[in-house]
Symmetry: C2
Subunit: 221 residues, 2 copies
């Protein structure tokens, strides 16, 4: 994906974008699968935009256990403004998943205005706010799901959120059930058991990764 078409430059013409990119002194780098891209603590002064491939944001806790905080594909963004909480002995780093290309931009270029006060620059700032806000909503959604006390309710609120987002009563899980259990922070086997109950009780219909929610008001479509 061309950097001109990424979310950060949405609504900006090709020419304007080029001018800005030049003005921003961007850097470009390529990585191969498995490569360590950077430690998150180093990203205090720049953002990275993934224009090709995918990366993982990984937390390593004091005991050396890894957990994946996020998958970022094309158009994904990390670094300044996109922060994660860290515990005491924890480290967070960015790792290349599939061969990828990253464009780096110094964060001061985003906020500082050049003397021209170009209109397009305002647009970039707006876009950056959109991106950050979207991330917050994502976190907030996750929190919303986790605030349910039982596995059953976690599953149901997750399904409901997804259905609402897709404006549909059928959803396709974006990851494996193993990963879903991780997302919901519950034991996988216990979750499978609960899914079985939901199926048996006719509350959901599930086929592979397709899930249909059977609600009281529209069980016939």
């Amino acid at each position: 994906m061309d950097i001109h078409n990424t979310e950060l430059f949405k609504g900006v013409t090709y020419e304007e974008c080029n001018k800005m990119l030049h003005c921003f002194k961007t850097e470009f780098r390529e990585y191969s699968a498995g490569e360590h891209i950077c430690d998150y603590s180093e990203t205090e002064k720049y953002i990275g935009i993934i224009t090709k491939g995918s990366v993982k944001i990984i937390r390593t806790d004091e005991n050396g256990n890894n957990s994946i905080l996020e998958h970022l594909g094309e158009n994904g963004i990390f670094g300044k403004y996109i922060a994660y909480a860290t515990g005491a002995g924890d480290g967070i780093y960015v790792e290349c998943e599939t061969p990828c290309e990253v464009v780096y931009i110094g964060s001061e270029h985003i906020t500082k205005r050049c003397s021209n006060a170009c209109e397009c620059h305002s647009r970039v700032v707006e876009n950056m706010f959109d991106i950050v806000t979207k991330k917050s909503v994502e976190l907030s959604r996750h929190l919303y799901v986790l605030s349910s006390r039982s596995t059953r309710d976690k599953l149901l609120s997750y399904f409901r959120l997804m259905c609402e987002q897709n404006k549909n009563t059928v959803i396709e899980l974006p990851f494996s059930t193993t990963a879903l259990a991780e997302y919901l922070c519950v034991d996988r086997s216990a979750m499978t058991r609960e899914l079985k109950r939901l199926k048996d009780e006719g509350i959901i219909i599930m086929d592979k990764r397709k899930v249909r929610l059977i609600t009281g008001d529209d069980f016939n479509n």
Copy 2:
């Protein structure tokens, strides 16, 4: 608190701030305790800064149950850029807690640059990013705590985060234990039971809202 001293205008001189405030066409309003300030869905085009008193952000779910998403005191900010996830039938609104004063600013004034390209305006943008990022970190911290599977681990990771933040092995809970249970999304009585166990096992010492974590390496200070 004077609007000039709020986080959004940090690092901006009094005069510059005045100019901007004039340029921004801010609005000012006062509310009395219990008053409904606004529905969160209306805040698509502005932000509100609390210069006096406090407000609550409240979610009402489809069954009419209320839950407090956040308390905001002086310097607190809500509206555009500060988003919350909503479920299907949920509504989110802002309610006055103690008599308060709110300054409203149209969000377009923050991102758009005026023709002067004043330095101070960049500073405001930076500050806004800081505020939003801080919120994200807060969400991320909450998520981190909730990702523990047991009540015990939730308590411990919460205590550890607090200790680290305060650079101390003693913390003072910022809310009642009832509210803590809500924050951890666990049953209050079950949590009290677990706290008792932690005390009995000598892992924590607790007196009212003061908690001391007894770790392996520094049990004597």
